[in-house]
């Protein structure tokens, strides 16, 4: 209990300030609602939130899976073929340092409004971190193990299977963690811009209708979803890095 108070005080403080502000400023409910109103909307109308939340979650996870798989495959291809690695360097450098969220409008225009575009945007945006981290992970192989395999005349393929993939697994889980937060963000932005359903659309629409409690509820739910996905992937990352780093 004491531990919980020490860990959660900033959030409690923010909520208290919000409540205090509402009750002293005396705004009408189309300008500002107290935290209690948001919570009660969440609890009284769970049906209004359930299907948008599931929509966002499903798209985020599906897009993440596609993006991770593509990134890993291309990183493996680049590892096996040096020319490909060199040629993809400028793409990777450019795309890993540009604010990718700002590219979503371009993708929307390219592929048209619709759920398919949302999925493609998420896959594309999670592909970049996956490719960059997997590529970096494949390059940092333990030098002595690589020597052993070379002395034993392992083929490129055997080296890949026995050494490179296990050695790159910690980087892969890091890519998963970075990609997981990206996937929810991109899903929300795409839903906000294209209104394809999901939590992003829910808060875009309810903001325009001045249903602030519903909009903030959607916002809070989106945050919870993102944090949950982040914590889950971080737990995976920690477990994997404990197992694999212990051996080396």
């Amino acid at each position: 209990m004491r531990r919980l108070i020490f860990d959660l005080w900033p959030i409690v403080l923010l909520l208290l300030l919000w409540q205090l502000w509402v009750s002293t400023a005396g705004y009408s409910s189309i300008v500002l609602v107290p935290p209690g109103a948001v919570l009660s909307d969440l609890l009284h109308f769970p049906g209004a939130y359930l299907s948008p939340a599931l929509h966002t979650l499903a798209f985020a996870l599906a897009g993440l899976a596609v993006g991770m798989a593509l990134g890993l495959s291309l990183a493996l291809a680049a590892w096996l073929c040096e020319v490909l690695a060199g040629i993809t360097t400028p793409f990777a450098l450019l795309l890993s340092s540009t604010p990718v969220v700002c590219l979503i409008p371009v993708i929307v225009r390219l592929f048209g409004y619709g759920s398919r575009t949302e999925l493609m945007a998420i896959a594309l945006m999670t592909f970049f971190p996956s490719f960059v981290y997997c590529k970096a992970g494949l390059r940092q192989l333990p030098a002595r193990s690589a020597d052993v395999l070379m002395v034993l005349r392992a083929s490129r393929w055997q080296t890949l299977r026995l050494l490179a993939v296990p050695a790159a697994l910690p980087s892969l889980t890091t890519a998963l963690r970075v990609g997981a937060t990206y996937s929810v963000l991109v899903a929300l932005v795409a839903e906000y811009l294209m209104q394809t359903g999901g939590l992003g659309t829910l808060f875009a629409v309810t903001m325009q209708q001045f249903q602030l409690a519903r909009a903030l509820g959607a916002s809070a739910l989106a945050m919870a979803l993102s944090v949950a996905l982040f914590e889950a992937t971080r737990a995976i990352e920690e477990r994997v890095s404990r197992v694999y780093r212990a051996g080396s």
């Binding site: 604010p99 937060t181 929300l188 811009l193 916002s219 914590e231």
Partner: protein, 252 residues
Amino acid sequence: MKLRGRLLYPAIGCVLMLGGWEVIGRAGLLGRTFPSLTEVLRVYADGPRAALLVRSSTATLGSAATGYAVGLCLGAAVALLAHLVPLLRGGLDRLAVLVNALPVIALGPVLIITAGRESTPAALAAVPVFFLLYTSTGVGLRGASRRLELVLTTLGAGRWQRLTKLEAIAAVPSVLSGMKIAASSAMIGAIVGEWFGAPSGLGVVVLNSMQNFQIPLLWATVIVIAAMTLSGYGLLTLIEQAVRRRIGECDG
């Protein structure tokens, strides 16, 4: 061999990227919404549209810089506070993890209400910068050499002297790498913040040109955004390298 992997192949990649872009755009392989490179570049030569881009860039850069500066100062200050008062650290660390995982766009509705439409871009830029700097400053301050700290304590240094003579200096490289990552976060925050109804800025141009089918302008704006972010990142990388060289000497 090394040179070929380092320079030749990436150069071929660049040429392929730009050439492919031009060819695909000219031939219309990806439809009318994929303009050729020359078509996009022509936007910068066109008076009114170039003026619009300059005006919007100034607005966005202003918001991003304001948010960056505020986030930087607050983040470093709160990290310092948490370092000096360990009791506060648990909660602040938890909050930092939380905000790091938050999708910026979900904060939009909250910030429109609290900060107003005009300052939402700067506020949304400040939030991720604040927490990146909080984390990197904290890590830097705690990363000071244990042995040097013992030496200082033995020589009778107080808490304040330990902080100014050892920990603050040891934190500089970590703070700088935090600042580097934060540059791109500030840009994303400012642009997404402008989508919530700011009067001007690159985010507004992106959204309007997307909705009004002004394809070359859309691409030209996104390139400006990317160029601004990359130059900010590049500048901070140069500063980081210079400082690292200077500090590296006494780190030994």
